[in-house]
């Protein structure tokens, strides 16, 4: 199944004339290795619930899609790594350090993306709060120092 072309399933004789149609058992025997390649066992294929084959075929399609997606994703990471390192590879470049590679993998689901965004916002807020707090501490310290100096100045 899968990559097999339809004409591969209906072989023709050398002269180009069509072979007689396959018998039921010949079709079953011919398709058995295809389904075994999809992960079905011999017993499941021959003695199991016939509808199992539908689930195996759909699962195989999903697996192929996922593999394709994984390959694409890996390509993306390689591409990004190349882009990050590219500045130092350029001849006569003054850059001495590559752009740091992404600290975390891409968010694959919307939920992941949302959580990551929330986390980033939280970190940014904490950083801002720390900056404001540091500034307020500095102001308070200066103020108290000033007040301490005043009585002596009198």
């Amino acid at each position: 199944m899968g990559s097999g072309r339809v004409d591969g399933r209906f072989p023709e004789n050398d002269g180009g004339e069509q072979s007689p149609p396959l018998c039921y058992h010949e079709i079953l025997e011919r398709l058995c290795p295809d389904y075994m390649a999809m992960g079905m066992t011999w017993d499941e294929y021959w003695y199991g619930d016939p509808r199992m084959a539908i689930a195996y075929r759909k699962a195989y399609e999903l697996k192929c899609k996922r593999q394709n997606h994984d390959a694409w994703l890996q390509g993306m990471y390689i591409y990004e790594a190349l882009v990050d390192v590219a500045p130092i590879l350029r001849a006569f470049s003054k850059e001495t350090k590559p752009t740091p590679y992404s600290k975390q993998p891409y968010a694959l689901t919307e939920d992941d993306a949302k959580k990551r965004k929330e986390k980033e916002e939280k970190e940014r807020d904490q950083k801002n709060q720390a900056t404001v707090k540091a500034w307020a501490d500095r102001v308070n310290r200066l103020k108290s120092e000033k007040e301490r100096v005043k009585p002596n100045g009198k």
Binding site: Y24, H25, E26, L28, W46, G48, P50, R51, A53
Partner: protein
């Protein structure tokens, strides 16, 4: 192999015995190797129908003789409807391998035009 989930027809005879009729790929292939063709039901029913019936007993009652099966069959009411059901069950092992996609929005459509 667990055969519990294979679609079967339950047949109860007058003496209270219960028989399960059905096909898996193995029994279908065995029938086909012995020359059974589903098209023959229409073209040569006298030969094909008994073969379809004997084949239906292969899965769970392979120890039954042809005469015993014949005896059971004579008791059956609604033979024609049961025959249709057996044809449907016989086709399932292969239909499940060649089934067309159902829920794909890109399915091609067809119609008969006069």
């Amino acid at each position: 192999m667990n055969k519990d989930k294979i679609k079967v027809i339950k047949l109860k005879t007058s003496d209270g015995k219960e028989y399960k009729l059905g096909y898996d790929r193995d029994s279908c292939a065995r029938m086909s190797r012995k020359g059974f063709k589903i098209e023959d039901i229409k073209d040569a029913p006298i030969i094909a129908i008994p073969k379809l019936i004997y084949g239906a007993f292969l899965l769970y009652h392979s120890d039954l003789s042809q005469s015993q099966i014949d005896e059971i069959w004579t008791e059956v009411k609604g033979k024609e409807a049961l025959m249709y059901k057996l044809v449907e069950l016989y086709s399932e092992p292969i239909n499940s391998l060649l089934e067309e996609p159902k829920d794909d929005a890109k399915n091609a459509t067809w119609e008969v035009v006069e």
